[in-house]
């Protein structure tokens, strides 16, 4: 900001002022010379009788005689070198004085024959006047007839007064007349209510009526001329002179006489100065000189102003340029500071001050920056200035770039920094160095997360990936608690894979997600509540328990886009760097999701391996068992043959036959088992009713021989899948039901479908032996049989379970207990997913978009 008045005005104006002082001195000298009366002749004295005849002539309150006669006479006196002296008195006194020779001249004298006897009159009248009757503004008098018996003031010996008395007489009106000294006294008497009306002449009445709050009645009379007059035969020359001037001035438009009359007649009481000729000359000259000086001054001032403006502009643009440089420096996100060759800070920008934790640049400028911000390494060991890359870059005139050091803040905490040092050159000379730096804490955190991911969390021995990750996130983002969840079933429950809280790993828990921020997260990839999260989710027990203020969560997506878990972080404080937290969670969530999938797959693989192991074990046992039987009884058979023990022989043979039959069945079932998932027929649509007809046809023999009543629910539901494999489910279940019917007198099997929540559940219910709930978990295992007496190798239900699982379903059995029948229930989500032609359209579309 600047204004021109800030620019040293005294200095700029000094020559101008000196000049004007000199000119003034010169003019004064000139004026004094002009005023000198050295060449003037002694003037002739004229005495004039003055009386109050406003505005022609009157005595003002200051005692001076004024009026337009006086102005005109003064002009005449100036031109004719006369000296005028006024003798003031009443009109009557004036008449006496002219006769006694006390005065030379009277003004405003009306012509009467008796005055003509002792007076000479000038030929040109001074002016024409008439008498006028004045009353107070409020008076009712507006014509002469209303004047009967009124008191009227008149001036003593006044021509006008006399004329009014004559006029009244001619109308037969009688009035009481009060004589006073002059017109002013007449007006004063009316104003003071001593009289009802008064007579003055028009020259006095018009300008003065307002002053006394009077008005004219409109009664005018006796117009007459008034003249200059002198004593008889005494001053004829003076009268002739005055006559000449009057004649000329009365016709001349801008004459002094008419101007003065104009001015006085309007009641203004300005003084009319009659200026001497020499003074006018002097003033004119002085005015010219002053104008000249002013012109000179104006020119000079303009020149000065122009120069000043240029300087001011130059300064302003310089200031603006400095301002812009400062703004540019302060607007960069990078911190910048400059050092001289001694390592002393010469400037620094706003980012530098802020990042280093100072309040003002003055705290850094002039200081040794190495000692202030660069005195130690990240581990706290001292960093000597001889090892300081910044200082070296100045001395060696080389650019430097460092990413693995720290700077120290004013509070003696450090932060990782990336900085660049560049020498400042002027020509060949190095003036210092400019250092640019950025706080790379965020980048370091991300890098650490990268390192963590690349090492799969192995830096913490004895912890699995999830535990190590929870610890890593908590430490890196300063969170009080980090949980990694694996979703279960319908996604409303989750098991934790790791809980890191208060610097320790905690035991895993199961957690209901409804009403928690975790539940909210699952609809999106990342969700953050930087503050007030506890109040937003009053139901979330974990948040309440932790007294959490902020929350951040990231969903873990499976390879096929399903939410399978989440990472949740909580803090008792507000989350400051939301963006950084989100970046890190996004970064780790991909790897974490794949780890969840991997561990899930590993778990499933383990299950499968165990199943295979169990299978191998069971097969080896179940095959070995009949083999032992056969071989042993072969031995007995040999003995019995030798003894010719027919009964024993028969028995041995029976045991051996049973064993071989058992082996055959076992091998058959194994073959069927191996077909599941290996031999796949093309999937087709089949209604439930059709499928059941097919199933019942295959097991018709067994049903009939046991006399079982089979009820099938009529249902138009369409199943989609490998038809023979689907049929096998019901075949085995019906077979199983018939087999375990026990001694039921009215055996019955019900087949149907019912809805359970969102799921479609199939069921096969019988009223047979039922299952001891203690053993129900075993029945789906390979070769598990509850009744060793029944036929079959114990693979039937295991087979059903495998087919159901192939369609992503599950199977379970409900039984009230032994003898109370059992109900096998199962779901087949995959067989219900796609129906009709629509399925093909969907597949085609997805193939085009590349999602398939």
């Amino acid at each position: 900001m600047f204004t021109p008045r800030h620019i040293k005005p005294a200095k700029m104006n000094r020559p101008v002022r000196t000049l004007s002082i000199r000119m003034l001195f010169f003019c004064c000298l000139l004026g004094a010379l002009v005023q000198s009366p050295a060449w003037a002749e002694a003037p002739q004295l004229i005495r004039i009788g003055a009386f109050n005849f406003y505005p022609g002539i009157f005595q003002d309150t200051d005692g001076a005689i004024k009026g337009f006669y006086v102005d005109a006479l003064a002009e005449v006196a100036k031109r004719e070198n006369l000296r005028i002296e006024y003798v003031y008195g009443s009109w009557a006194e004036g008449l006496e004085r002219i006769q006694s020779g006390e005065v030379d001249l009277l003004t405003s004298v009306a012509y009467t024959p008796e005055r003509a006897r002792f007076l000479d009159y000038a030929k040109t009248p001074l002016l024409t006047v008439w008498g006028e009757l004045y009353v107070p503004v409020s008076s009712e008098i507006d014509n002469i007839t209303k004047m009967q018996n009124k008191r009227v003031a008149v001036m003593k010996n006044d021509f006008n007064g006399r004329s009014f008395i004559e006029l009244a007489k001619s109308f037969g009106i009688t009035c009481e007349y009060v004589e006073v000294a002059g017109f002013e006294e007449v007006f004063q008497a009316i104003a003071d209510k001593q009289v009802d009306a008064g007579v003055v002449n028009s020259t006095y009445g018009v300008p003065k009526q307002r002053e006394f709050k009077l008005r004219s009645t409109g009664v005018v009379f006796n117009p007459f001329d008034i003249y200059f007059a002198a004593a008889k035969n005494k001053n004829a020359a003076l009268l002739n002179l005055l006559d000449d001037y009057l004649k000329k001035w009365r016709t001349q438009e801008d004459s002094i006489y008419l101007k003065a009359r104009e001015r006085w007649a309007h009641g203004t009481i300005e003084k009319v100065q009659v200026i001497p000729h020499w003074l006018l000359l002097a003033v004119g000259f002085l005015g010219f000189i002053t104008l000249l000086a002013i012109a000179f001054i104006v020119l000079l001032r303009r020149q000065v102003a122009r120069t000043t403006h240029a300087i001011v502009q130059r300064e302003a643009s310089l200031r603006a340029s400095n301002e812009m440089t400062r703004l540019l420096l302060d607007s960069t996100a990078e911190a910048i500071f400059g050092l001289d060759l001694h390592g002393i800070c010469t400037f620094c920008n706003a980012a530098c001050v802020r990042i280093l934790g100072y309040e003002h640049a003055d705290q850094l400028v002039g200081k040794n920056m190495h000692e202030l911000i660069h005195y130690a390494r990240g581990d706290g060991s001292p960093l000597h200035d001889r090892d300081c890359v910044i200082l070296q870059s100045a001395f060696n005139a080389k650019n430097s770039h460092v990413v693995d050091e720290v700077f120290w803040r004013s509070d003696r905490t450090s932060f990782p920094v990336e900085y660049w040092g560049h020498p400042i050159r002027r020509g060949d000379k190095i003036l210092g160095t400019v250092v640019t730096f950025v706080d790379i804490t965020d980048r370091r955190q991300l890098e650490e997360s990268y390192v963590f991911l690349s090492q799969s969390g192995y830096q913490y021995p004895g912890e699995n990936f999830f535990e190590a990750l929870a610890r890593h996130i908590a430490v890196n983002l300063s969170l009080d608690c980090v949980c990694i969840y694996r979703l279960k079933g319908n996604g409303l429950l989750a098991n934790t894979e790791a809980i890191y809280h208060d610097g320790k790993l905690k035991d895993n828990i199961q957690y209901a997600l409804e009403g928690t921020p975790c539940g909210e997260v699952l609809t999106q990839t990342i969700r953050c509540y930087p503050q007030g999260v506890r109040e937003m989710f009053p139901q979330a027990s974990l948040l309440q328990e932790l007294q959490a203020e902020s929350y951040i969560g990231a969903t873990l997506w499976s390879f096929d886009g399903q939410p399978i878990g989440l990472i949740a972080g909580m803090s008792c404080k507000e989350l400051v760097n939301v963006q950084q937290a989100e970046s890190i969670l996004k970064l780790v969530s991909l790897r974490t999701a794949s780890e969840l999938e991997r561990t899930q797959a590993a778990e499933e693989l383990l299950q499968k391996n165990m199943e295979i192991e169990r299978f191998t074990y069971a097969v080896s046992h179940d095959l070995k068992s009949p083999l032992i039987t056969i071989k042993t009884f072969l031995g007995y058979l040999q003995q019995d043959l030798a003894n010719a023990n027919l009964e024993a022989i028969e028995k041995d043979m029976r045991f051996m036959r049973t064993a071989t039959e058992k082996m055959t069945r076992l091998l058959d079932e194994l073959l069927r088992m191996s077909r599941i998932g290996r031999i796949v027929s093309a999937p087709v649509n089949v209604t439930f009713t059709h499928l059941m007809e097919e199933v019942l046809a295959t097991v018709a023999g067994a049903i009939q021989s046991r006399g079982v009543d089979v009820q099938v629910q009529k249902e138009s539901l369409v199943l989609y899948g490998d038809r023979p494999r689907l049929a096998e489910i019901w075949q085995n279940l019906v077979d199983n039901a018939v087999k375990y019917m026990g001694d039921q007198q009215a055996p019955c099997i019900e087949i149907g479908i019912h809805a359970q929540g969102k799921e479609t559940v199939f069921y096969v219910r019988d009223n047979g032996m039922g299952i001891d709930p203690n053993h129900s978990h075993k029945i789906f295992g390979l070769f598990d049989k509850l009744d060793p007496q029944t036929e079959g190798a114990g693979l039937g239900l295991a087979l059903v379970k495998r087919i159901v699982e192939l369609y992503k379903g599950r199977i379970w059995v409900e039984s009230e207990g032994l003898g109370l029948g059992s109900c096998f229930q199962f779901t087949l989500p995959e067989a219900l997913n796609y129906q009709g032609e629509k399925r093909h359209e969907w597949r085609t579309n997805s193939d085009i978009t590349g999602r398939g």
């Binding site: 179940d622 032992i628 031995g635 007995y636 045991f655 060793p788």
Partner: protein
């Protein structure tokens, strides 16, 4: 050893194998009474005198148990665990007689304090020899707690 020969409880689901044991005892002239149950559930019922085994005369307390591992309902290991963890029954010697030679089964059996573990041989003479030796060892030489 008192005068009464001990009762042997055979828990075996395969009737053929039970017949082998029975026949072998007969051939070896082992006169001990043999009680046969066909699954683990029955074995426990027998030992705790439940579900038709309540008569002490019909179901006397065994002095030795021959226990198969793979049985329906309750398997051999479960029976073993139950018996060995019950102070009333824990002293009864339990000889595992099974087709399984799996290391896991052997380890598990001994972990649960099985007294012996025998694998049924596939060979006839070996099987008969085993059963003979078993009889001599456990019934003639071995000191029974009962």
């Amino acid at each position: 050893m008192n005068g009464e020969p001990i009762v042997i409880l055979l828990a075996e689901d395969d009737p053929a194998h039970a017949e082998i044991v029975r026949r072998n005892m007969e051939n070896s002239r082992i006169a001990n009474r043999l009680e046969h149950v066909t699954d683990g559930q029955q074995a426990l019922d027998y030992l705790y005198r439940r579900n038709g085994f309540s008569d002490p005369a019909k179901s006397p307390r065994p002095g030795m148990i021959l226990l198969d591992l793979r049985m329906p309902k309750v398997d051999g290991i479960e029976v073993l665990t139950t018996v060995k963890s019950d102070p009333e029954l824990a002293r009864i010697p339990i000889v595992i007689l099974t087709t399984s030679a799996a290391e896991m089964d052997i380890a598990k059996a001994y972990d649960h304090h099985a007294n012996s573990y025998l694998v049924k041989p596939v060979d006839f003479s070996q099987f008969t020899e085993l059963l003979e030796t078993l009889g001599y060892y456990w019934l003639a030489w071995n000191q029974s707690p009962y």
